[in-house]
Symmetry: C2
Subunit: 350 residues, 2 copies
């Protein structure tokens, strides 16, 4: 198939060796990052494009592939219709934006049951109406390669409310909205044959198949100048907090004892001899929001937040002066983390 | 897999029976067309979103699936890298816009050779630089389902220069930039085993694998108030001109003797006993531009066009008062066309 020797990927022999982050670096190097104070291309949750005088347009896109990202016997059409759009809304809100328009490209096997498709689309519509997001177009095609779903979502944010990954400041507290580890446990439960029926398991699987997203909560936080950087936990805390450390040029210290581990998660991990902390740190798809916030303002913001919302708001660490790295503090010890969560090309945690 | 009985698709038993246009109708009915004088959702080449006082943002997206839309042994990585982006640039320009930003979602089999990927990306970059389009983001993931490519392209157009499908007016001439039928012949040639090497065949295959697009030509035409409606020929003249007839509420009459059939096309069709007119009318992916233009202005616009560009500019018919339909005129006879070109869900021309 090849026409030329590869110079772009010199020194690498395969995609697996290069890794996803490696590939994105190479693409960013080739095409440019297009980054200015008001514009961002490759490298954040969303692209940021200038839009009028005081606003920016945020753009995010996400490709979901049957038998790579989901299995039709493990997720209902309603949950998949919800999740495929929800993860994109989460990306927009994690940068402080309001999602506005959605575009759906969908590749459909010709034998897909129409009632399956109806349920999928109905749930997508329900979610889009809930947040006043308009489906404005897309592409429909048959697929010989299973079901394929690509959403592109456009959102709007005020320039000065964009929550860049690069904006964490020494002196900030690190906080987390929502839970962590539950989606990873849900995924592991889905992989077990003949799983006994148990409300705990159903709840964890629900977190995986139908993750809670925090659109209005994120918009509330973005309005506070005390909130500096934010990311949604799609690849796990180690990977996602690592991105903030790297982009902000600061040290992020996470106190592992402060991570919110639910009773469901702890009990299920005990039963199956899984490590809840490992799931909390390394498993992805929680879509909880991790953010940094000025420590002198955190109590005020948290109190205001709690008057409006009932989502768990945990303080889990500190941003400090120091090298661009992530450290875990536990039991009085501090460990530097090189591990970067899940790399989809490597199939192992690297 | 099903949870509920389908009410959305009542009366249909399969996707094949519903067809792609049927599915799009159902989705548009469910989600709304979001159409005002300055906004358009589902149903044109691009979505049109308000953007500032005098401009609109155009958005288009296109999903290409290995072994459904392309075969890696029939197209080089360079041609595929070109074509995957080019067809989206063509959609933006067919509405009178200037493409500005691109987003690439790509699903990669882990065993894809890195020199293949390098060639694919290099050619994408070359095309994007040629038209000053910036790649601003996307999604990279492994794929267990072959190579998957979804481009989303954003463009800008002045409100009053947007070339809506619905804007053809009785009295307009129908014109065509470029050729027709050659891409369809190229596709048929690619399906022949042990095709003899011949410059004619190579040229036709090139039209299919690396279609010429008319970005600057379309922008020139969009600046003329005499040009009313435009569409790029992605599904064949019958289908695409049919869309203009339907959306504009007018009759489009195509004089088949005026269709530009190249010498390569005619000679190749003679050799293989194919019908060149059938390819010109029903085969897709020519990406030539079909447009309607005020008949009193056409000579002036064509002369100005020819001073700047060397692309064939053919006059192929008339827009007339009458029902929303497409008619073919040939040899003094006129035929109403119900045929709608290629429907990807039906696998037959319907």
């Amino acid at each position: 198939m090849s026409e030329t020797q590869s110079s772009l990927f010199e020194g690498f022999n395969s995609l697996e060796e290069l890794g996803e982050l490696g590939l994105i670096e190479k693409i960013a190097g080739m095409f440019g990052r297009h980054r200015t104070s008001s514009t961002a291309g490759i490298g954040d949750d969303c692209a940021v494009l200038p839009f009028g005088n005081s606003e920016s347009m945020l753009v995010t896109t996400d490709l979901l592939i049957e038998n790579t990202h989901f299995y039709l016997d493990r997720i209902s059409p309603r949950d998949l219709g919800y999740k495929a759009l929800a993860v994109n809304l989460s990306d927009i809100s994690a940068m402080g934006g309001k999602p506005v328009y959605a575009f759906l490209s969908i590749g459909l096997p010709l034998d897909i049951p129409l009632d399956w498709l109806d349920a999928f689309l109905s749930e997508t519509r329900k979610l889009s109406e809930q947040y006043h997001v308009k489906l404005m177009g897309g592409d429909t095609t048959k697929s010989e390669s299973g079901l394929l779903i690509n959403y592109t979502v456009l959102g709007i944010a005020k320039h000065d409310q964009i929550l860049w990954r690069s904006n964490a400041k020494p002196g900030d507290k690190i906080a987390l909205l929502g839970s962590t580890g539950e989606s990873g446990a849900g995924l592991k439960l889905l992989e077990i044959n003949d799983l006994p029926d148990d409300e705990k398991y159903r709840q964890l699987i629900k977190v995986h198949n139908r993750p809670r997203i925090f659109i209005r909560e994120a918009q509330f936080l973005a309005r506070s100048p005390a909130v500096h950087a934010m990311i949604d936990l799609s690849d796990g805390i180690l990977s996602d907090a690592g991105h903030i450390a790297e982009e902000s040029g600061a040290t992020l210290q996470i106190d592992v004892e402060e991570l919110p581990l639910s009773k469901n998660l702890r009990e299920t991990c005990e039963k199956f001899e899984w490590q809840p902390l490992e799931l909390a740190l390394s498993a992805g798809e929680d879509y909880s929001l991790l953010f940094t916030i000025d420590k002198t303002e955190i109590e005020k913001v948290r109190n205001e937040f709690r008057e409006k919302f009932s989502v768990p708001f945990s303080v889990i660490g500190d941003v400090t002066d120091g090298p661009s790295e992530l450290r875990l503090n536990s039991d009085g010890n501090s460990f530097k983390i090189n591990k970067r969560g899940y790399d989809p090309f490597k199939n192992i945690e690297s």
